[in-house]
């Protein structure tokens, strides 16, 4: 007898399940409340949650997989794809965002823990058509090649200059070491940060 294979075509995908919206999450929340009120076995952990995140100053409410990272929620639920997924394990820095003004890795997170925090992504730096000084400096100094790491580099540099507005030249490479650039545009990235220093 051949073992029966479960393929994804037999089951709704997680994305479809989530896109189905609120009803599934609300049903689970109801079950959870019943479970705690009676002596029945404890409710299983919820698959989804409805959360409100403050992103670039705007409150956004969405259903998410309880396990989803802030990175995945930004990209796949909110539609802000400027934040990039490189390694997804905290090594490359492509997913850097600001949380309450401090640079953080959005991949090493559980999105539901970020309600009530002020999240800033690359999309939130410019003022309309007016680029943020760090963005402008990256353009002027050609601080990129392929561009994949660039949004993480820029957000990290904004975080660095907030932590240390007068960062000495010699400390910039070490304090940007959480952002890898496989094209090795490092000399121009550090030049851009030196230039933007004092303008933010």
């Amino acid at each position: 007898m051949t073992p029966r294979k479960h393929t994804s075509s037999h089951l709704p995908s997680r994305r479809a399940f989530l896109a189905g919206g609120l009803s599934a999450g609300a049903g689970l929340a109801g079950a959870s409340a019943l479970g705690s009120a009676s002596a029945a076995p404890p409710a299983p952990p919820p698959e989804t949650s409805k959360i409100t995140l403050t992103i670039n100053g705007v409150a956004r409410t969405t259903d998410v997989d309880t396990r989803a990272s802030l990175l995945d929620v930004l990209r796949e639920r909110i539609g802000l794809t400027g934040t990039k997924k490189g390694c997804n394990q905290g090594a490359c820095g492509a997913c850097t965002v600001l949380v309450d003004g401090r640079r953080s890795l959005s991949c090493l997170t559980i999105a539901t823990r970020y309600e009530g925090r002020e999240i800033t992504t690359i999309e939130g730096l410019a003022d309309g058509d007016q680029l943020h000084p760090v963005q402008r400096a990256f353009v002027e100094h050609d601080g990129f090649q392929c561009g994949f790491c660039t949004s993480g580099q820029i957000v990290s540099a904004v975080g660095l200059l907030a932590e240390n507005p007068a960062v000495p030249d010699a400390e910039i490479p070490e304090l940007m070491s959480g952002n890898l650039c496989r094209c090795a545009a490092y000399p121009n990235i550090t030049a851009a940060i030196r230039d933007a220093r004092g303008q933010v």
Partner: protein, 324 residues
């Protein structure tokens, strides 16, 4: 990853109550735990988020010393800490990346899990991850493994820089638990693997780290951290040393030498401390300490280099301390 309940207690007693669930796991910065959960190394059904407990303060104690909350980020760098405990701030600055330091907590840093490749890949046997399953490293790659304190069950290294600095500072870990509060000296906080490598800390079930206390000790101000790694930044230590001395009239009265990257816990090099005590911090004294630091080393086939590296890291750390 398995789904989980997310508890967000607002008081320490509520957090301790939530931890009665044997399947619960504390989450602070999450920078280690989330990768462990994604990789199937940890499978908690309940996360107890302790970020709402107000445990992120730095309190200077009236009788001297300082208490740093367990949720204080690893980006701690205030001028007073830098002046009174330089080894602490230097160790923190040498760890991870700025983004991870902003997220990661003091308590989580102490309780982070080994970076042993076999531990992190559930397809390999590992006594630390799955008790009794064996150790893939003993017949496998041992290049990053420990040279002190190992057992036939586990040869992995504790990856923390902070914990090595705390060893040199006689720190105390403050915990809250179902049976009340306890103070655990840092040297007793991490356990050697023995036959039970999965029991890596002295925490009892349901206990929560709430703070780290650094006493006012005469050697704290003259202290230094040196880390040697595969690349200039953002890497775990191959070998590191936290050194501290108290000198009177040029003679070392007390020395503290702790090593990272070489043992399953932050390793106190007591032979090296003894070799330096009563001597001057000159090249003869420093050489004696460097040589004594490797007494008892038991390298594995791929990590003999760590023995010589320990000598050199201890020597350079003490030389730099002498010049400071």
């Amino acid at each position: 990853m398995r789904t989980f309940h997310l508890d967000r207690p607002e008081s320490i007693p509520a957090a301790v109550r939530a931890l009665r669930d044997p399947d619960a796991q504390v989450i602070a910065g999450g920078t280690d735990l989330i990768t462990l959960m994604r990789d199937g190394v940890r499978t908690p059904s309940r996360l107890v988020d302790v970020s709402g407990l107000g445990l992120d303060r730095v309190d200077w104690l009236p009788g001297g010393g300082v208490r740093i909350g367990a949720l204080h980020p690893n980006s701690a760098d205030d001028p007073r800490l830098r002046a009174e405990y330089p080894v602490l701030v230097e160790a923190l600055r040498s760890g991870a990346s700025p983004q991870i330091r902003n997220m990661a907590s003091f308590g989580g840093n102490l309780l982070q899990q080994t970076r042993c490749t076999y531990y992190r890949l559930p397809e390999f046997p590992c006594n630390r991850r799955n008790p009794g399953s064996g150790c893939a490293s003993i017949d496998g790659d041992s290049s990053k493994q420990a040279i002190f304190g190992t057992s036939g069950s586990c040869v992995a290294v504790h990856p923390s820089d902070l914990a090595v600095a705390l060893q040199a500072l006689d720190a105390v870990v403050l915990v809250a638990g179902p049976d009340g509060d306890r103070r655990i000296p840092i040297d007793e906080f991490h356990r050697l693997p023995g036959d039970t490598p999965h029991r890596d800390s002295a925490l009892r079930p349901g206990e929560l780290v709430v703070a780290v206390e650094l006493p006012a000790v005469p050697f704290a101000r003259r202290s230094h951290y040196l880390k040697f790694r595969d690349r200039a930044s953002f890497a775990f230590a191959l070998v590191s040393a936290a050194v501290a001395v108290d000198q009177r009239d040029g003679v070392v009265r007390t020395a503290r030498i702790a090593l990272g990257g070489v043992a399953p816990k932050p390793w106190r090099a007591t032979h090296a401390e003894q070799a330096l005590t009563g001597r001057r911090l000159d090249s003869a004294g420093i050489d004696a300490a460097a040589e004594a630091a490797v007494l008892g080393a038991a390298p594995r086939p791929d990590n003999h280099y760590k023995v010589q590296l320990v000598r050199r890291v201890v020597r350079r750390a003490l030389n730099e301390l002498g010049e400071s």
